[in-house]
Amino acid sequence: MNPKITREETIARLNALLAEELEASIRYLHLGSMVQGIDRLIVQKILQENHEETVEHAQQVSEKILQLGGNPSPRIQLNLDGRRYSGQQAIAEALLFEQAALDGYRDLLEQVDSSGDVVLEEFARQQVAVESEHVSQLQMLLVESPVGDQ
């Protein structure tokens, strides 16, 4: 393993990512309930799909932790208020925690890159790709993407 990161540090990072994914899945569920407005049904569908994907990601991260001989033990602290969201506000909020997850996977990739653990490296690379896709999709919904500007 890369001398930059020990097995324990890798497990700790994966547990932090597991917490990100689990929190995101709950946030998606909550946002789906609290969204209102004319685009409610469309946004709810997007949020539901993303919720299901984050649950899948959480399962994958848990598997990785177990494969490394660790225990999935995420620390989660969520206080969700009863605020209502427009479709755009809900997507903007989702973009915040998707970006946070992407940054977390990027950091993991940086740490395990060239570590010799090809499986973990490939996992991190794949997650960066998937999360980047999520972020881009959300940005496009908010018209933040450079698409069409060129």
């Binding site: 932090a16 990100e20 929190e23 946030r27 909020e93 925690f97 946070a100 940054d103 977390g104 950091d107």
Partner: protein, 181 residues
Amino acid sequence: MSDWREFDQNPVSHSAAHHLTTIGDLHDEVGYARVSDVARHLGITRGSVSVTLKGLRHRGLVVEDEHKHLSLSVEGQRIAQGIRTKRILIQALFRDVLGVPDEIAEQDACKIEHLISDMTAEAAGSLLEGLEDLSEDQRIRSLVESARSSSDSSSPFPDTATQQLANRLLKKAAAIESEDS
């Protein structure tokens, strides 16, 4: 009793107070603060930090540069400094006047640091300042006198004298801690 409604009028929530003071502390300690640093410091996810920071940025209390480094605005610094000072004063009040163990005093101070008014914090500061070099009998007399008077300061909290007192109390607490260990 409708006092509980005033909780909604507080300038910052408990969580926001921790985010502001953490950004300030990280700047003091390492010279910068990123979302990942704040998350690690508070033991929460980056997602939670990002969601909270959105509100603080919107209110002009936190600024993010192009390198995603976070800093406090002038108003953010004032609020963070006020919260820190209140925490120190209340912790000292609970420990030195009520005789609560320092660890419990710190935990309880943390729970209310962002909730108490500037006037209450100033009154606590005046009381502690008056007690600093007194004997036990003098302390009791001073406590009674202090309870009868009220603060009429209208300057922004914390003023220089209160800030200096908080710094002295902080040093005193550190000295007690090092003696214990």
